[in-house]
């Protein structure tokens, strides 16, 4: 499933923008979105379905708040992996149940040697550490260095707030 972002038009972008803050908690939520973007509710539903099929939208539904649900020990695990294996290994790590985000990002030598980020959720730091060990086992001897960076405080967290282009 490959998302083709070039296939979405201004109305699709408007639907994404109108639903970023959340689907309205109204009897007919898609009609309400349609009112904002100038479409019928049925057209909104149809366009969302197309975006889900193409992968532009990964899912639509409940977005849980991990912290509030007791997953308080979230750790950003960072890894320095041999570049030639990052694609294959990243996909394996990204598929793990306890990983909520997994990205390839650039290194900044000498300050930052890590090129893969995997956000791990756990209820305790022990749990996060044991998940990190599972990741480490998958990566084997392709890992040159790694670290777990825990969050201390959330200073700002909002949904995306950018206008449709």
């Amino acid at each position: 499933m490959k998302a083709d972002v070039s296939n979405i038009d201004a109305l699709d972008r408007a639907i994404i923008a109108a639903t970023q803050g959340g689907l309205p908690l109204k009897l007919r939520p898609y009609d309400a979105v349609g009112d904002v973007v100038g479409l019928s509710g049925n057209e909104v539903q149809a366009r969302i379905l197309v975006m889900l099929d193409s992968g532009v939208m990964r899912r639509i539904g409940v977005v849980p708040n991990h912290y509030k649900l007791g997953f308080n020990a979230n750790g950003m695990t960072v890894w320095d992996i041999n570049d030639e294996h990052i694609s294959e290994l990243g996909q394996k790590v990204g598929a793990l149940e306890f990983v909520s985000h997994c990205y390839h990002r650039p290194r900044h030598i000498p300050h930052w040697p890590y090129n893969m980020f995997a956000m791990v959720h756990g209820k305790t730091r022990e749990e996060v550490k044991s998940h990190a060990k599972e990741i480490s086992a998958i990566l084997g001897n392709n890992v040159n260095a790694s670290d777990i960076i825990y969050s201390k405080r959330i200073l700002k967290k909002t949904g995306l707030r950018i206008a449709a282009q």
Partner: protein
């Protein structure tokens, strides 16, 4: 937590009904009314159990973004974090336990604006953010299995 709550929180992270009255459809399958479903979801959002019912969009679909990190002196952290958070383009800002102790996500309509925000943050804080834009996303966010 009641069984109905668990189902509402766990079972509708994906495949949310794409029908004119989705809350009625959810209610039907759980044996509660449409009004109760809306009330429950409203409560979860108010008490922050869920952040929203919404679409999770592939990164880069609208706008460009980066993860940025800075090393700031602990005694200036709050002051600098406030400057960083004051930008509408900054949607996440976390203090983390590392020498890079301030981590934030910047999302802008285009690369020019993103670069401007990075430059403005550097100007106003006197610290250069290390910018780590995503090169590839390995995780298809299909929801998170909740366990109680």
């Amino acid at each position: 937590m009641f069984e109905t709550d668990k189902k509402l929180l766990n079972d509708y992270q994906r495949d949310f009904p794409l029908v004119p009255r989705p809350y009625a459809e959810i209610g039907k399958s759980l044996g509660i009314s449409e009004g109760e479903v809306i009330e429950d979801f409203t409560r979860y959002i108010e008490n922050k159990t869920i952040s929203r019912i919404g679409a999770v969009v592939k990164p880069g679909t609208i706008g460009v973004s980066t993860l940025a990190a800075m090393k700031v002196p602990q005694e200036k952290l709050i002051e600098i974090a406030k400057i960083v958070s004051s930008f509408d383009e900054v949607n996440h800002n976390y203090e983390r336990e590392h020498s890079f102790n301030l981590w934030f996500v910047i999302t802008a309509p285009n690369q020019t604006r993103l670069n401007d925000v990075l430059a403005e943050i550097e100007n106003k804080t006197g610290t250069t953010p290390m910018s780590l834009p995503m090169e590839r996303d390995f995780h298809l966010d299909l929801g998170f299995k909740l366990k109680w």
